[in-house]
C-alpha cells in the first residue's frame, strides 16, 4: 500500500466534519470551542500534507500551519476569556443565552 496524499486528507476531512457537527450541535460554548479546534487542526493537517506531498520545494503550508497554531492559541485565550465573562453574567456557558448581539 502506497500511502499517497489522499490517505492523509481523508482523516482530516472526517476530523473537519466532526468539528462541524460538534460546532452545530453542542450548546456548551467550550465544547463548541473544542469543535472549532478540531476544524482548525484538520485544516492545518491539510496545509502541511499538501505542502509536503505536492509542493515539497516550498515551505508555505508548513509556515501557515505554524502561524495558525500561534493564532489559534491567541484566539482560544480570547475566546475563553469571553466565555468566562459570559459565565459570570449568565451563570452558565450555554450558547443560546449568548444572543445579545441580535439585530
Amino acid at each position: 500500500m502506497e500511502i499517497n496524499v489522499l490517505y492523509y486528507l481523508l482523516p482530516s476531512l472526517v476530523m473537519f466534519c466532526c468539528g462541524i457537527y460538534g460546532f452545530l450541535t453542542r450548546k456548551n460554548m467550550i465544547a463548541m470551542l473544542i469543535s472549532l479546534e478540531l476544524m482548525l487542526n484538520a485544516v492545518d493537517i491539510n496545509f502541511t500534507v499538501i505542502n509536503r506531498f505536492i509542493y515539497p520545494d516550498g515551505q508555505e503550508g508548513m509556515f501557515f500551519s505554524l502561524f495558525a497554531i500561534a493564532i489559534a492559541a491567541a484566539e482560544t485565550a480570547m475566546a475563553i476569556a469571553i466565555i468566562i465573562n459570559l459565565y459570570r453574567v449568565n451563570k452558565n456557558v450555554d450558547v443560546r443565552d449568548a444572543n445579545k448581539l441580535q439585530g
Binding site: N4, S12, L24, T25, L38, N41, R52, A74, I80, A81
Partner: protein
C-alpha cells in the same frame, strides 16, 4: 510506516468522533488532546519535526490545559450535558455529511492526478527555519512573524481586559 499510519488515522477518526459525541465535557477535552497528538504524529511523519513539536507544546500543552481550566471553572464536576434533541443532532449530522460529501467528492474526483508517493524533501533544519522566519526575502516570513507577535500581545492584553473582574 503503514502500520503507524493506520494507527494514527484510526486514532484521529475515532477520537474526533468521540470528542464531539461524548456528553462529558472534560472527556471531550481529553479526546481532543488525543486527536491533537495524532495530528502531531502526522506532522512528524511529514518530516516537520518542529511543527510537530509546536503542536504538542502549544496545543497539547497550552490550549488543552486552558480548556481544562475553563471547564473546571464553568462546570460542576461530574455534570453531564443534557442529551441532544434529535432534531438538532439530525441537522448537525446532515450538515456534516453534506460537507463531507461535497468536499470528499471534489477531493476524490480531483486528486487522481496528484496521487503519488511522498516525494523527497530537503531536511528542514532549525537554522533554516530560523532564517525563513526572520528573513524578508521571497519565502521569508518576517512580516507575519512580527504581525503574530503583535497579535499575541494584543490577545494577552485583550484576554486580561475581558476577563478581569470589574
Amino acid at each position: 510506516m503503514e502500520i503507524l499510519y493506520t494507527i494514527v488515522a484510526l486514532a484521529i477518526i475515532i477520537f474526533s468522533v468521540l470528542t464531539v459525541t461524548t456528553r462529558k465535557i472534560l472527556r471531550a477535552a481529553t479526546y481532543l488532546l488525543f486527536t491533537l497528538f495524532g495530528a502531531a504524529i502526522i506532522y512528524f511523519m511529514m518530516d516537520y519535526e518542529f511543527l510537530g513539536a509546536v503542536q504538542i507544546a502549544v496545543y497539547a500543552g497550552g490550549i488543552v490545559v486552558l480548556f481544562v481550566f475553563a471547564i473546571l471553572l464553568t462546570t460542576k464536576p461530574g455534570h453531564n450535558s443534557e442529551k441532544l434533541e434529535s432534531r438538532r443532532r439530525g441537522w448537525g449530522i446532515c450538515a456534516a455529511v453534506l460537507t463531507a460529501g461535497i468536499t470528499g467528492y471534489a477531493l476524490l474526483s480531483r486528486c487522481c492526478s496528484l496521487l503519488g508517493a511522498k516525494p523527497d524533501m530537503e531536511f528542514l533544519t532549525m537554522n533554516k527555519l530560523g532564517e525563513y522566519m526572520l528573513s524578508t526575502d521571497r519565502g521569508g516570513y518576517l512580516l507575519p512573524f512580527e504581525a503574530v507577535s503583535v497579535l499575541l500581545l494584543a490577545c494577552i492584553i485583550g484576554a486580561v481586559a475581558v476577563a478581569r473582574k470589574r
